[in-house]
């Protein structure tokens, strides 16, 4: 069974955005193994990095799904697979019910218009030799959306204004802008195609806190205005809690927990999710000093030779003998709350 978000999204006033019951993205059994080769002239595959190892989830139209986990857990690779920037080893990626895995380049062009991405680093994701206007109009030109140059320019200026930038940024270069402004350009570029689905890969992580809040508000406003669906990849749990409807926690290529945002943050069930939430320091000195800190030991193992059974068992405070040989499947422990742990 595939974890679905149906009936899981609550109708609470603090939720913004409008998730519907319609499935937009359906990832089934996604695996991405990168070969490790030895030998210079005749490389042979000696092992594989199991970056993503059997991942299934759905994203509803209008929903924001958070994907959290630490470096190397496979969250970025998942995003890249959906964008078809990687060729997944196996699995299906259904977009509007059509498997986009292995579509030919021509068929992919139409899909690419609808799926856009905002990258983490606002310094390396904009071409330093292109003006802001060229950066935003280029995708429109490539996809032949506005054949007329004046129309393209007008649309670019509109997008700049929508993203809170002045129209005169059109003729500037990326180096003349601050990090927050560049990230807004990245967002304007993503919007240029009228996408349905945007993958935000650590989109606010490189920004200072005061600027971060501005960009988060912008992403939420755009979601409301254009009915966008986001896959929000981040390691910052407090930001994810703020912006997402549902959250998936990943560890070493596997999904260990998936639940409604409030449900996950109030009642985390998987020992890894619990440890992750415990580790976030809270800006309140009295609370911090009175809070008990259960810190999990050890570090993330290598995805080349992941531990047998449950991949988290070497670090898990609740591990028992069978965890080392039995792989825990995701199962629904409460409506809409999925956990991959045999001990709960």
């Amino acid at each position: 069974m595939t974890p679905s978000g149906q009936a899981a999204v609550q109708d609470s006033s603090h939720y913004r955005g409008n998730p519907t019951g319609e499935v937009l993205i359906d990832v089934r059994g996604l695996k991405m193994h990168f070969p490790v080769t030895e030998g210079v002239l005749i490389p042979r595959v000696v092992a594989s990095v199991k970056a993503v190892d059997g991942l299934s989830f759905q994203i509803m139209k209008g929903e924001t799904l958070g994907l959290v986990g630490e470096s190397g857990c496979g969250k970025t690779t998942t995003g890249r697979c959906i964008l078809q920037l990687e060729n997944p080893t196996s699995g299906e990626i259904m977009f509007h019910g059509q498997d986009i895995n292995g579509l030919d380049d021509k068929a992919m062009i139409d899909v690419r218009k609808k799926i856009q991405v905002i990258f983490q680093d606002p310094f390396s994701s904009l071409n330093p030799r292109m003006k802001i206007g060229e950066i935003i109009t280029e995708p429109m030109k490539v996809h032949n959306i506005f054949p007329d140059e004046d129309a393209r320019q007008k649309r670019a200026v509109d997008l700049l204004t929508t993203c809170g930038l002045k129209a005169n940024f059109y003729d500037r270069y990326p180096h003349e802008m601050s990090g927050g402004q560049r990230q807004r350009v990245g967002i304007a570029r993503a919007l240029a195609m009228n996408p349905e689905f945007i993958i935000c890969d650590e989109a606010v992580s490189a920004l200072d806190v005061s600027i971060q809040a501005q960009v988060i508000n912008l992403l939420e406003d755009l979601r409301d205005e254009f009915g966008l669906t986001y896959l929000f990849i981040s390691h910052d749990l407090s930001v994810v809690r703020h912006i997402c409807h549902r959250v998936a926690v990943m560890y070493l290529g596997h999904m260990v927990e998936l639940a409604d945002c409030d449900e996950l943050f109030d009642n985390p069930i998987h020992p890894y999710s619990q440890a992750l939430l415990e580790a976030v320091p809270i800006p309140d000195p009295d609370l911090e000093n009175s809070r008990e800190h259960k810190i999990i030991k050890g570090e993330i193992p290598s995805p080349i030779s992941p531990p047998s059974g449950c991949v988290f068992h070497p670090r898990c405070p609740k591990a028992v003998a069978k965890c080392s040989n039995q792989f825990p499947e995701l199962r629904e422990v409460r409506p809409g709350h999925w956990v991959a742990c045999t001990e709960v």
């Binding site: 006033s13 603090h14 913004r16 630490e70 470096s71 601050s178 990090g179 927050g180 402004q181 200072d208 806190v209 005061s210 600027i211 971060q212 809040a213 501005q214 988060i216 508000n217 939420e220 390691h235 749990l237 407090s238 930001v239 809690r241 703020h242 409030d262 943050f265 440890a275 992750l276 939430l277 415990e278 580790a279 976030v280 320091p281 809270i282 800006p283 309140d284 000195p285 009295d286 609370l287 911090e288 000093n289 800190h293 810190i295 999990i296 030991k297 570090e299 993330i300």
Partner: protein, 332 residues
């Protein structure tokens, strides 16, 4: 406890083709023996440059310490000849940098890098230094320390490298450690491990620490006193409780309000600081936060607000602090 480090009126400037960048513009603070002091602020506010100035590591050209006194254990570091300054660096004051990937030398073994400081600064023989290196690695929680001595930095994970950096910082039993964003590059579970380790070690060994960070959560748990910097100046300082529960500066308040909090109900919308930080080459005589400030009036443009006492050990540089405090009281 006595004052270990006293910075008084420090000014560090960078003379660039675009103009003079006043990166640190009249910063004063003290660190007591065994105390942990946090310096908080966003990119470009001068928090790292202040730290580099303490160790006199500002590259000339273009940077220069133009004014001020840095008194450490009774001596003015800015007046010391270079060879005496070398004795201070790494021995009395050591530093932990943000990037554990780039701050270790990739072509030298862990053992060599750990013993180097001890061989330079103490009379230890090579054998004694190696023995101490094993002790240090054990102390920072690295398994099989003897084997690690022969390994290179690329054999270690990010968290392990940061542990090695801490071991190096502790090698000569310094009186003060400056930690510049020590956990920013690390994952959150590893960050918790490293911060807990640093807290325990500094407490057990009685080492004072300056922790430079932009993470307000880290500050809340690990520091006794907090300095908030904006555009090269300290705009507010006090105990952690003063800063978090009784902020008197609009910027401090805005920083606290702009982060989503895990312990509170979700808000519909975040409350960001509008606008961009100022260009440090173009500061005028008024309050630098004025263009982004909700409480600003004409008065704020006229002069620089001085740091004024608003409670025991709590100082704020804002002309509108009374207005801010009364509006906060009304809101609650």
């Amino acid at each position: 406890m006595g004052v270990l480090l006293e910075i008084d009126g420090l000014k560090t400037q960078f003379f660039t083709s675009a103009g003079t960048v006043k990166a640190v513009d009249g910063v004063s603070y003290t660190v007591d023996e065994g105390e942990t002091v946090a310096v908080v602020g966003e990119s470009g506010c001068g928090k790292s440059v202040t730290a580099m100035s303490i160790l006199r590591l500002i590259p000339w050209p273009p940077g220069k310490i133009t004014e001020g006194v840095i008194r450490f254990a009774g001596r003015d570091l800015l007046q010391l000849p270079e060879d005496e300054m070398r004795d201070v660096r790494g021995k009395d004051i050591s530093m932990i940098f943000q990037e554990p990937m780039t701050s270790l030398n990739p072509v030298l073994t862990i053992g060599l890098q750990l013993t180097e400081t001890m061989l330079t600064h103490t009379s230890a023989t090579e054998n004694e230094a190696r023995k101490r290196a094993v002790e240090l690695l054990d102390m920072v929680g690295i398994a099989e320390p003897e084997r690690r001595l022969a390994q290179y930095p690329h054999h270690l994970s990010g968290g392990m490298r940061q542990r090695v950096m801490i071991a190096m910082a502790l090698a000569c039993e310094p009186k003060l450690i400056i930690a510049d964003e020590p956990t920013t590059a690390l994952d959150v579970t590893i960050q918790a491990q490293i911060l807990e380790l640093m807290k325990n070690l500094t407490r057990d060994l009685g080492v004072a620490m300056i922790i430079i960070t932009h993470n307000l959560g880290v500050v809340a748990r690990y520091s006794d006193r907090v300095n908030v910097m904006y555009a090269g100046k300290i705009i507010e300082y006090g105990s952690a409780a003063d800063i978090y529960y009784r902020p008197h500066h609009p910027y401090t308040l805005a920083l606290l309000k702009s982060v989503p909090r895990m312990d509170q109900p979700r808000q519909a919308k975040l409350d960001p600081v509008e606008g961009q930080p100022p260009d440090l080459t173009m500061l005028d005589g008024g309050c630098a936060f004025r263009p982004r400030c909700r409480y600003a009036t004409d008065e704020c443009a006229k002069g620089l607000p001085p740091l004024e006492n608003v409670g025991s050990g709590h100082f704020t540089a804002c002309f509108q602090k009374d207005k801010l405090v009364s509006s906060l009281q009304e809101a609650s």
